[in-house]
């Protein structure tokens, strides 16, 4: 818990000092939401500590909490963690915060910090209160599915590229929560895999949007970007973004597909209706991703944009290098390689994930 809370305040300063769009509002909103979640978690931990008399996670997992306690303590604890994971409807800090944060901040935020919430939800909330989890899992699944579809639909209407990516993060985290709600080996393992995979993909998306595009063109507005024909000006960035979009959409061969399919198979066993609705969500995800891709990189050069040798001039005022720097290329390549590797050979990670999930006792106590 100590380290969970430690994360909150540096995020505030990162965003408020180094951020961009609406940074102060975004920073404060993010911090307050995270701290609110933290307070819920604190309440849950206190109750667990006081009842069981120990703070050790193993001992707590073995302690038999009364099911009455579990039925109210579990939602409190889980919702507290899930706020950080972007559960609907407490997700609104995520797009604002991501858009306001500097690039590195967004990459960390979406890539890692959101996973803290779901990881803690799995390791603490679900492990300690299995009966509570069983009672509430259909609500978890409901909220997760709503999150997937709602966030994807909203992303379709966004004008700022970073907002699109922020909402896509919420949607992907919805997948994670759905996998956790399924409550069986496949679902939970898929959720953990998706945590990893989305971390990589989100980092990649933000890297392109923030560093490669924003630093050079000083705008993230999709309509403005559409006029710039960036695929000619920044070919490497376009290539990266295509790969990232494909991974985000869940195209086979990338890690997103491996994770999502595992989650969906696991969920099919427990909540088949959720799988149908998520299918619709996946279509929406593809829609908004392709829209963002087309508008940001493959639009036709509009009038009023300076042309030079047939390519739009990027950064008219700034001193950024015209071509993507080697450092950016290396970073992007590392991320792309990772998502490809896990996508083509998910056993790489699943071999480690599945035994660990198996070891979690709570799966034995609930028969799914």
């Amino acid at each position: 818990f100590v380290f969970y809370e430690l994360v909150i305040v540096p995020k505030y300063f990162l965003i408020a000092i180094f951020g961009s769009t609406n940074k102060e509002y975004g920073a404060m909103k993010l911090t307050l939401y995270s701290f609110c979640g933290g307070m819920f978690v604190f309440a849950g931990i206190l109750v667990a500590y006081v009842t069981a008399g120990s703070l050790d996670l193993d001992q707590l997992a073995q302690f038999q909490f009364s099911s009455q306690l579990q039925s109210w303590a579990f939602p409190v604890l889980f919702v507290g963690f899930a706020v950080l994971a972007g559960i609907w409807p407490l997700h609104t800090w995520a797009p604002t915060g991501h858009a306001a944060a500097p690039t590195a901040g967004s990459m960390l935020l979406a890539g890692i910090v959101m996973k803290l919430g779901s990881y803690a939800g799995l390791r603490v909330a679900m492990n300690l209160f299995p009966q509570g989890f069983q009672e509430w899992s259909k609500w978890m699944a409901l909220l997760a599915v709503i999150g997937i579809v709602y966030a994807a639909a909203v992303a379709l209407r966004q004008r700022d590229l970073k907002f699109v990516i922020g909402y896509s993060s919420v949607s992907h985290m919805g997948f994670v929560l759905l996998g956790l709600a399924a409550g069986n080996m496949l679902g939970v393992s898929g959720a953990v895999l998706q945590m990893f995979s989305h971390g990589v993909i989100a980092a990649l998306l933000f890297a392109v949007a923030g560093r490669m595009i924003y630093r050079r063109t000083h705008t993230r507005d999709l309509d403005a970007l559409a006029g710039m024909n960036l695929s000619r000006a920044l070919p490497f960035a376009a290539f990266t973004f295509v790969i990232a979009s494909a991974a985000s959409m869940g195209i086979p061969g990338f890690s997103g597909f491996a994770a999502e399919i595992t989650i969906l198979i696991g969920t099919w066993k427990t909540y088949p209706l959720a799988v149908w609705i998520t299918g619709a969500g996946v279509v929406l995800v593809a829609a908004f991703t392709l829209r963002a891709l087309k508008q940001s990189f493959f639009g036709e050069a509009g009038p009023g944009v300076l042309m030079q040798e047939g390519q739009a001039v990027v950064d008219p005022d700034w001193n950024e290098k015209r071509h993507i720097t080697a450092a950016e290329k290396i970073g992007a390549c590392l991320l792309m390689f990772t998502t490809l590797a896990v996508g083509l050979y998910p056993k790489l990670l699943l071999d480690r994930i599945m035994p660990a999930v198996e070891a979690m006792r709570f799966l034995h106590t609930i028969a799914r």
């Binding site: 430690l6 408020a16 102060e24 911090t31 307050l32 701290f35 206190l46 109750v47 006081v50």
Partner: protein
């Protein structure tokens, strides 16, 4: 017992009184003696701390009027340390006229603190309360050039004397009902009695005086003006020393003196007694303090309202009762006192450099003195309850004790109110830090952005206090275990 033995037992208080008189005399000798007076005062406090360490472990005089126990010795040392830091604070800023008198009054207030802490008898408690109170009223009104200081002093005095009058009346009622004034004796006599209406009135009236001292709502209305208008060292002392001693005394009174009537504040099983009264005070303080602090634009006023809220949190520990509750409350209030002195130290710097202490005056502090900005960050975040700072562990102890106090987590409602309050408080503490780190200062002239280089001693003190908070956060047991041991 012989007079010499008696003198040995009261040696700390005696030393501080002698130092106060000495400082008074030195202050009269020549004009620019502020530094000498401060040095003498500080030296006197250090000697007194040494005297406390040489006291025997246990002693009791005159039916509890003066009690020497590990708890009282520990808190006498803490109060003197807080006075020591306050004296260092007086040396910053512009040189004050009448420095000798000011320091003498600070030292006399410290004597009041020590008498409060060391007593388990109602009359002596009242004397200590009055000595402390009168000294603080004068300290609050000390700045004759500032009308707000006079306002602060007057409001504090009017409120304070009324509350002390209530307390005295309540004490007399309790004496009437029980026939003694020693706390342990009262509890023994009252153990067999039922709660008669007059006794209930007496208990509540006694509590009123202490609720005023700790700035619990709805007895907190003096706090914003006193914290904002009084000279900074006075405000720092009010915020720290007087709070710590008041909580020690309040705890002793309710947990020892009124022990038979503690009642219960559990949600579904409320029983009449002082416990529900304190629980209501706590909840009200937390809510009022946090909500009103949201609207503040002056840092000192904000600290005052946050003081109200923190009094609420500490009261939760007292409501929980027992050894654990008392020690959690004392740990929290000690941590809080250290934090507030440090925060006021930073405010003193900002005030002397920019002439005010609104948010706009704090803007740009990060670039002028990163060290001070960092220290302020530590203080604000500790108050908000962010780990791994001491404030978080204080809250953790308080809340876990409160939940453990009742078999069915009956105090959960109080803990939830407190958690809600903590959530709100993060906002206004972050606003202060935002002003320091993020906002651009209004005047962008180069000379206003000069780094703060002088007043090395104060800077060292502030950073020492920040380090203490950090240290206590990483190893809270150092203090918490000591307090718990002192209580057993």
């Amino acid at each position: 017992m012989s007079y010499l033995e008696f003198l040995k037992l009261v040696s700390p208080e005696a030393i501080v009184v002698i130092t106060a008189l000495a400082v008074l005399v030195i202050g009269l000798t020549s004009a620019r003696t502020a530094a000498v007076c401060s040095a003498v005062a500080a030296l006197g406090l250090v000697i007194a701390v040494g005297a406390v360490l040489m006291l025997p472990r246990h002693a009791a005089l005159f039916g509890g009027m003066l009690v020497i126990a590990p708890l009282t010795s520990l808190f006498k040392i803490i109060c003197m340390a807080l006075a020591f830091f306050t004296i260092i604070l007086t040396t910053s800023g512009r040189t004050r006229p009448h420095a000798g008198e000011y320091l003498a009054i600070v030292l006399l207030a410290t004597v009041g603190l020590m008498l409060l802490v060391g007593s388990e008898e109602l009359l002596m408690i009242f004397i200590g309360l009055e000595l402390l109170g009168l000294s603080l009223y004068v300290m609050a009104a000390f700045d004759k050039t500032d009308v707000r200081s006079a306002e602060a002093g007057l409001k504090y005095f009017l409120f304070g004397s009324t509350s002390s009058a209530f307390s005295l009346f309540g004490i007399s009622l309790v004496y009437g009902m029980s026939g003694t004034t020693g706390l342990a004796a009262i509890s023994a006599k009252l153990a067999t009695a039922t709660v008669q209406p007059l006794l209930a009135v007496g208990i509540v009236m006694t509590l009123v005086g202490f609720a005023f001292k700790i700035a619990a709502a709805p007895f907190h209305l003096w706090a914003p003006d006193a914290y904002q208008g009084a000279p900074i060292p006075s405000a720092a002392f009010i915020a720290s020393g007087s709070k710590v001693a008041s909580f020690v005394v309040l705890g002793k009174i309710v947990l020892v003196g009124f022990a038979p009537f503690n009642g219960s504040a559990a949600w579904h099983a409320m029983v009449a007694g002082w416990s529900p009264v304190l629980a209501v005070l706590a909840a009200l303080s937390i809510l009022v303090g946090n909500f009103v602090a949201l609207a503040q634009s002056n840092v000192r006023r904000l600290l005052a309202y946050s003081a109200v809220a923190h009094a609420g949190y500490t009261l939760v520990g007292l409501v929980a009762g027992g050894r654990d509750g008392f020690s959690a409350a004392l740990f929290y209030t000690t941590v809080y006192a250290v934090t507030l002195i440090g925060a006021f130290g930073v405010v003193a710097f900002v005030r002397s450099e920019t002439g005010g202490d609104d948010f706009t005056n704090f803007a740009g502090l990060a670039s002028r003195s990163p060290m001070l900005a960092g220290c302020m960050a530590i203080f604000m975040l500790s108050l908000a309850g962010i780990p791994p700072l001491a404030g978080f562990f204080g809250k953790f102890y308080l809340f876990s004790v409160a939940l453990r106090a009742d078999a069915n987590q009956g105090l959960l409602w109080l803990v939830l109110v407190a958690l809600f309050g903590s959530l709100i408080s993060l906002y206004y503490y972050l606003i202060v830090l935002k002003a320091i780190f993020v906002d651009e200062p209004l005047e962008a002239g180069a000379d206003h952005l000069s780094p703060i280089t002088n007043h090395v001693l104060q800077k060292f003190t502030v950073s020492l206090l920040a380090g203490a908070i950090l240290f206590l956060g990483l190893m809270p047991d150092m203090l918490a275990a000591r307090i718990l041991a002192a209580l057993s």
